[in-house]
C-alpha cells in the first residue's frame, strides 16, 4: 500500500485540485507513517486513515456529502462554500495533522488528536470500524471530485473494505442511501464489491435510514465526548453522558472562575504602578550615557499598565525598552534615562527588538522559568512589544 501513496500524490498533482492540497497530503502521509511507528497498529488501519485524509483534502464541501462526514478527516477548509459544522469538523483533523507537521514534533502521542483517537486507538474497535467504513464510502463518493484519482481511491477503498468486517457495511451503505442515490453513490457502490450487495438490500428500507442517520449522529457525539474526556481531568471515572456532562460543566465553570480570580489579581497589581509614566515614555536610553541606578523605574517600564500617550509614544516605549533590556541583561537594574532623539533611531531599535525578544523568550522558556526574574520581566514586557512590532 505504501506504493500507492506516491501514486496518489502524483495523481492529485495532476488533477485540477490546488497545489495546497498536496502539502496537506504529504503531511498527512508522513504523520500516518509516524503513527504507524508509534502505535504499531495493524497495517491497514493507518493506511485507511491516510486515505481518509487524502480523500478529504480533495473534498470541496459537497453539501450532499457533508452530512456523511463523521470524524475529522483532513480537509482543506473552504470557508466560502462549506457547512459551518463540516468545516470545523474538518479543521479539527487537519489542524492536528498539519500542526504536527509544522511543529516537527511527533505529537501523535502527546496531543489527543481527533483523528488519532478515533482511528488509531481503536479501543472501541467496532465503532471506529464503522466510521472507517463510512469513510470508505465517502472516499469512494468523492471520486466525482477527484477525477484523476477515481480509480486509485476506489481500489484503495476496495482493498480496505475487503479487509474489514462485514457488519460495518450496513451503516455505510445506508448512509449512501440516506444522502440520495447520486452518481456518486452509484460509483461508490460499484467500486467496493462487498458493499455493493448490501446497498442493494438496504435501499428499500426507509425506516432504517433514519436509524442509521441517528447512529451516525450518535457516533459523532460520542466521539466528541471522548475527545472531551481526554481534555477534562477526572472524566475517565464517570461513565455515561450525564456524568461526563456534569464534569465538563464543572470544569468549565472552574476555569472561568479561575480567570475571574486572576483578573482580579491583575487588576489589583496594575493600579499600584502609579508612577509618572510619561517621563519614561518620552525618554530614551543611550548606552553611551552613564548608567543611573533607578530600580523602581526599570521595574515600572516592565510593568505595563501605562497608558499610551500617543502613537509616537509607542515607538518611544520601544526605545527605552531596548536599552533597558540590554542593560538589565548585563547588570541588574541599571536604567539609563535620557531624552528622546529621533524616531528614526527608535525604528532601528525596533528592528533589532524583534530578534532580541524572540531570543529572550526562547531562552526564557528553555530554562523553564528558572532564569532570574529580571529577564522574566524583560520577556514579559518584550512580548508586549513584540506583538506591537508584529502588528
Amino acid at each position: 500500500m505504501n506504493s500507492r501513496l506516491p501514486e496518489m500524490l502524483h495523481c492529485l498533482n495532476s488533477t485540477t485540485s490546488e497545489n495546497c492540497e498536496m502539502s496537506v497530503l504529504e503531511r498527512q502521509r508522513s504523520r500516518l507513517k509516524q503513527q504507524e511507528q508509534l502505535t504499531h497498529h495493524h497495517p491497514p488501519i493507518p493506511y485507511f486513515n491516510g486515505n481518509d485524509h487524502l480523500a478529504y483534502s480533495g473534498f470541496h464541501g459537497d453539501q450532499a456529502l457533508s452530512d456523511l462526514v463523521l470524524n475529522g478527516g483532513a480537509m482543506k477548509p473552504d470557508p466560502g462554500v462549506e457547512h459551518d459544522d463540516f468545516r470545523r469538523f474538518m479543521n479539527y483533523g487537519t489542524g492536528t495533522t498539519d500542526f504536527q507537521m509544522s511543529c516537527a514534533l511527533p505529537r501523535t502521542v502527546s496531543c489527543p488528536p481527533y483523528v488519532a483517537a478515533a482511528s488509531v486507538d481503536s479501543a472501541a474497535g467496532k465503532e471506529s470500524c464503522k466510521k472507517r467504513k463510512a469513510h470508505n464510502l465517502k472516499i469512494a463518493a468523492e471520486e466525482k471530485k477527484m477525477k484523476g484519482c477515481a480509480e486509485e481511491e476506489s481500489k484503495i477503498t476496495e482493498q480496505n473494505s475487503n479487509s474489514k468486517s462485514t457488519t460495518t457495511t450496513i451503516s455505510t451503505s445506508a448512509n449512501k442511501n440516506n444522502k440520495g442515490p447520486s452518481a456518486n453513490a452509484k460509483k461508490a457502490s460499484d467500486a467496493p464489491k462487498t458493499d455493493y450487495i448490501h446497498v442493494r438490500a438496504r435501499r428499500g428500507q426507509a425506516t432504517d435510514s433514519h436509524s442509521l442517520a441517528e447512529r451516525v449522529r450518535r457516533e459523532k457525539i460520542s466521539e466528541r465526548m471522548k475527545y472531551l474526556q481526554d481534555l477534562v481531568p477526572g472524566c475517565n471515572k464517570v461513565t455515561g453522558k450525564a456524568g461526563m456532562l456534569d464534569e465538563i460543566i464543572n470544569y468549565v465553570q472552574s476555569l472561568q472562575r479561575q480567570v475571574e480570580f486572576l483578573s482580579m489579581k491583575l487588576a489589583a497589581i496594575n493600579p499600584r504602578l502609579d508612577f509618572d509614566i510619561e517621563n519614561y515614555i518620552l525618554k530614551e536610553m543611550f548606552p553611551a550615557c552613564p548608567p543611573a541606578m533607578e530600580p523602581d523605574h526599570s521595574h515600572l517600564q516592565f510593568n505595563t499598565s501605562v497608558e499610551e500617550v500617543s502613537g509616537s509614544g509607542l515607538e518611544m516605549v520601544v526605545g527605552p525598552m531596548d536599552a533597558t533590556l540590554r542593560r538589565t541583561i548585563s547588570a541588574p537594574i541599571t536604567v539609563q534615562q535620557s531624552f528622546l532623539d529621533s524616531s528614526s533611531l527608535n525604528q532601528i531599535q525596533q528592528v533589532t527588538w524583534e530578534d532580541e525578544l524572540r531570543n529572550l523568550y526562547s531562552m526564557e522558556y528553555q530554562q523553564g522559568r528558572s532564569t532570574p526574574f529580571i529577564s522574566q520581566q524583560i520577556t514579559g514586557f518584550l512580548e508586549a512589544n513584540h506583538v506591537k512590532l508584529e502588528m
Partner: protein, 191 residues
C-alpha cells in the same frame, strides 16, 4: 505535556514559520496549523496571547470602573482575538462586546435604557415547564456557559466546548504567568 523542554527551539521556528505562512495566504498550512484545539497547547500560542494581553492591559484606563471586570473583559477579548475567528465562541465574545459598546453609546446619546440584544431576553414564563431529561438540561447549562452557543446542536456544541476548554486553560496559564511576573517585579522594587 512533554512539550516544554523541546519546544524551545522549535518555538522560534514555529513563530517564524507562522509568520512565513501569513505571507502566503493561499497555502492551507496557515489555516490548518491554527485550527483544532491542540493549537492552544503550544508555547507559541501562549506567548502570543501573553504579549497581546500585556498590550491590552496597557490600554485599560486605570481609574475606571471596577478594575477586575475590565481586566477580565480584556483577557477574554484578547483570547477571542487569538482564536482568529475560527470558533463560534470567539466570534460571540467579540460581537457581544461590540453590541454592548453600541448599546452603551446609544444609552449615552438617547438616554433610553434599551438593553443589548443578548442580555435581557424575556425568560419563558414558567407556566408549561416540561421537565427535560437530565442530559438535555445539562446540555442547556453547558450551552449557556460557552459564549455564543445557545442554539447550537449537540455535536457542534461539544466541539466548541473542546476548543473553549483548551483556550481557557491556556488563558489561565498565561495569566498566571503574567501575574507572577508582575508580582515578582513589584516585590523586587518594594524590597
Amino acid at each position: 505535556m512533554a512539550e516544554s523542554p523541546s519546544v524551545a527551539n522549535p518555538d522560534a521556528n514555529s513563530t517564524v514559520s507562522r509568520k512565513r505562512r501569513k505571507i502566503d495566504p493561499d497555502s492551507p498550512t496557515r489555516i490548518l496549523a491554527e485550527t483544532g484545539p491542540t493549537r492552544w497547547r503550544t508555547q507559541a500560542e501562549q506567548q502570543i496571547y501573553s504579549s497581546k494581553l500585556m498590550g491590552a492591559l496597557r490600554h485599560i484606563r486605570r481609574p475606571d470602573s471596577g478594575g477586575h471586570a475590565a481586566v477580565r473583559d480584556a483577557a477574554d477579548r484578547v483570547l477571542a482575538i487569538s482564536a482568529r475567528g475560527k470558533t463560534r465562541w470567539s466570534r460571540a465574545i467579540l460581537t457581544n462586546r461590540l453590541s454592548l459598546r453600541l448599546a452603551h453609546i446609544n444609552r449615552k446619546h438617547k438616554k433610553a435604557a434599551k438593553p443589548s440584544a443578548g442580555k435581557s431576553r424575556p425568560r419563558k414564563p414558567a407556566v408549561l415547564q416540561k421537565k427535560l431529561p437530565p442530559v438535555q438540561s445539562k446540555v442547556k447549562v453547558l450551552s449557556r456557559l460557552v459564549p455564543g452557543c445557545r442554539k447550537v446542536s449537540l455535536p457542534n456544541l461539544l466541539e466548541e466546548t473542546t476548543d473553549y476548554i483548551a483556550a481557557l486553560e491556556m488563558q489561565v496559564k498565561a495569566m498566571t504567568f503574567i501575574t507572577g511576573l508582575l508580582n515578582a517585579g513589584q516585590n523586587f522594587t518594594s524590597s
